[in-house]
């Protein structure tokens, strides 16, 4: 393709090709401190190309394609090309990743113990993970948790954090402006701004961690904590996984292993500071 870029994120290498220069310039800026794949190869290919050939020039419209494709995916405007690249990488993971059990979850780590946060869109897992990542935890990923089915470790996938709407200002108050991508207004998901994880998260992207706690956060309620039974955790995690069914017996064994070995809590929180406080309390209890 006309323009291309390769990025290594945790154990996964992507090759992104584009018919236009601007999405890859934005991507290269956002992913400035990430390594290139050491072997020059990739696990997945993403393509950003005109939906129809004339749409390269006239009202450019970016179709998100690659090794794996959603036939009915809606194209984005060229101004949102960076988002298209991000969505393209996520799509390859969701449809094509078969080496690890993939959970739609955010993960942070401290003292070798990993905290997995999962929940529906809007539950606040991305924001919480991003915030914890600036307050003494290591951000392992805000979107996908990769469970190694051989040893039960979680592997980092620290792609740029995708902040939406209200979360953007929360993180802008916390983090150096140089780590942000451009603000994208009017996307299908509202306003979006990407944030590069800090140096600790990037330099340790090859380092897994043992899961210690599973959390189901819910934003916008009065603070409350309840324990979640194993059966419920199991069902919720099968729903949070994109490839659980495809992994068959190995996926089942890995997921039941995780559920049996790790406690789970549902927390409601009115604001992120309350949640961060609660989570640090849990960590101290687990460490004690």
């Amino acid at each position: 393709m006309r323009h291309q870029l390769a990025i290594q994120i945790g154990p996964v290498a992507f090759r992104i090709g584009s018919a236009w220069r601007s999405p890859l310039d934005a991507l290269a800026g956002l992913y400035a401190d990430y390594p290139e794949p050491a072997d020059g190869l990739c696990d997945f290919t993403v393509r950003l190309e005109p939906e129809k050939f004339w749409r390269r020039f006239i009202r450019p419209s970016v179709a998100i394609r690659g090794d794996y494709i959603l036939p009915d995916a809606v194209p984005l405007s060229l101004a949102h090309g960076l988002l298209a690249a991000e969505m393209g990488m996520n799509l390859q993971m969701a449809l094509g990743q078969k080496r690890y059990l993939l959970l739609h979850a955010a993960t942070v780590e401290k003292d070798g113990r990993a905290l997995v946060m999962t929940g529906e869109s809007g539950a606040g897992k991305s924001t919480l993970a991003a915030l914890l990542g600036e307050r003494g935890w290591r951000l392992m990923g805000d979107e996908f948790a990769l469970l190694d089915m051989d040893n039960g470790l979680l592997l980092p996938f620290p792609r740029a954090v995708s902040l939406k709407n209200g979360a953007i200002a929360v993180m802008e108050a916390e983090v150096d402006a140089a780590r942000f991508g451009p603000r994208l207004d009017g996307t299908p998901k509202g306003a979006i701004r990407h944030m590069r994880p800090n140096g600790d998260a990037l330099s340790r992207m090859g380092e897994g961690a043992r899961p210690a706690l599973i959390l189901f956060p819910r934003f916008g309620e009065a603070a409350a904590v309840r324990a979640v039974g194993q059966a419920e955790v199991f069902i919720r995690l099968t729903q949070a996984s994109t490839n659980y069914v495809a992994l068959g017996r190995r996926g089942f064994d890995a997921l039941t292993g995780l559920v049996r070995g790790v406690p789970a809590l549902a927390i409601d929180y009115p604001d992120t500071d309350t949640a961060v406080g609660l989570i640090d309390d849990f960590r101290r209890e687990l460490a004690a």
Partner: protein, 333 residues
């Protein structure tokens, strides 16, 4: 080298692949739904660690695809068991059920079955009863078109398993010029130990050739031709070639079968019966170019040639006046 050609070479002669455009090979194979087959062909060969790991994933994934395909076949068998109708598996599911070499790494999308035409209504009712649903509007033009002119029912999808089933009563639309003998196909079909039925070997090859060269626009053609290569290598014998010739004539599909033999031989070096394959034709090159119209980013190339084959697919499917009416209806609704 063109990456589709690299893919073909890797399938045909894995030992000949040294240092190559691995990313391009993988993307082309994924786009052509051949990553599983390629992963098995390349097993144990020297290659970069990342590619070896990808191929291992693909091999494991195809084991799951097989389980799922056979389970879907079993679900349909159970749904139709009370009807006492011969239910014949077709395409990928049949390869897996019969354990043909063609099943190694073969992905399976929809479940394709064939039943006698006079039992279609009962079969459809039984499937609807067992949880399958219509994909398209059951009152609309498409539905009426399927029922009147197609070789299969409008597609059904299972409510909870989300898998499609295509119920065929013959192998070509009724509007196409050749008229395959569906009754003869069903009569010659065989029961496997598992109780599932498949077509006889010659008819399996004829169906694959017909699907590729007598119907449609050759989309996914490299995979279909790879099926044909594997099937021919497994079935080849003097008797088989004789029966294939006879049955190809019986089904009025001698031309497409000969074409399939020539193209399989051209691309995959498949040993074929040269009397049946006939002399190379100039147009074989066009078919080859169309089959290889894919680059190392997985993109479709040669748009004009693809479009020409798209037109050809419709041309084969129905007489010109009917095609005009059909396209008019589709364009104006």
């Amino acid at each position: 080298m063109n990456n589709a050609r690299l893919l073909v070479r890797a399938l045909r002669a894995p030992a000949s692949i040294g240092d190559c455009d691995w990313a391009g090979l993988v993307s082309a194979a994924r786009a052509e739904q051949l990553i599983g087959s390629l992963a098995f062909r390349m097993e144990g060969r020297p290659m970069p660690a990342r590619i070896a790991a990808l191929f291992e994933d693909a091999r494991r994934d195809s084991a799951h695809a097989r389980t799922q395909a056979l389970w879907e076949a079993e679900m349909a068998r159970r749904a139709l068991a009370p009807l006492d109708v011969p239910m014949i598996l077709m395409k990928g599911t049949a390869f897996h059920a019969a354990d043909f070499d063609a099943c190694i790494g073969r992905s399976v999308g929809d479940l394709d079955i064939m039943v006698p035409r006079d039992r279609l209504a009962a079969v459809e009712a039984a499937l609807l009863d067992a949880g399958w649903e219509h994909v398209k509007d059951a009152e609309g033009y498409d539905d009426a078109y399927y029922r009147r002119w197609m070789h299969e029912l409008p597609p059904l999808i299972h409510r909870t398993r989300d898998r499609m089933i295509d119920v065929h009563h013959t192998i070509l639309p009724l509007t196409a010029r050749p008229r395959p003998d569906a009754e003869a196909m069903i009569a010659a079909s065989a029961t496997l130990d598992s109780g599932l039925r498949i077509l006889c070997p010659a008819d399996i090859v004829i169906h694959a050739a017909c699907h590729l060269f007598a119907d449609g626009d050759l989309a996914g053609g490299l995979r279909n031709l790879w099926d044909i290569d594997r099937l021919l290598r497994e079935f080849a014998s003097p008797d088989f070639w004789r029966i294939l010739d006879e049955r190809a004539r019986l089904h009025q599909l001698h031309g497409p079968v000969a074409r399939a033999l020539r193209l399989a031989n051209r691309l995959y070096a498949t040993p074929v019966d040269h009397a049946l394959a006939g002399r190379p034709r100039l147009s074989d090159r066009l078919f080859e170019a169309r089959l290889l119209a894919r680059n190392g980013w997985g993109q479709e190339k040669r748009k004009l040639l693809r479009f020409a084959f798209y037109i050809r697919g419709h041309w084969l499917r129905m007489p010109p006046m009917m095609l005009a009416r059909h396209l008019w209806t589709k364009a104006t609704r």
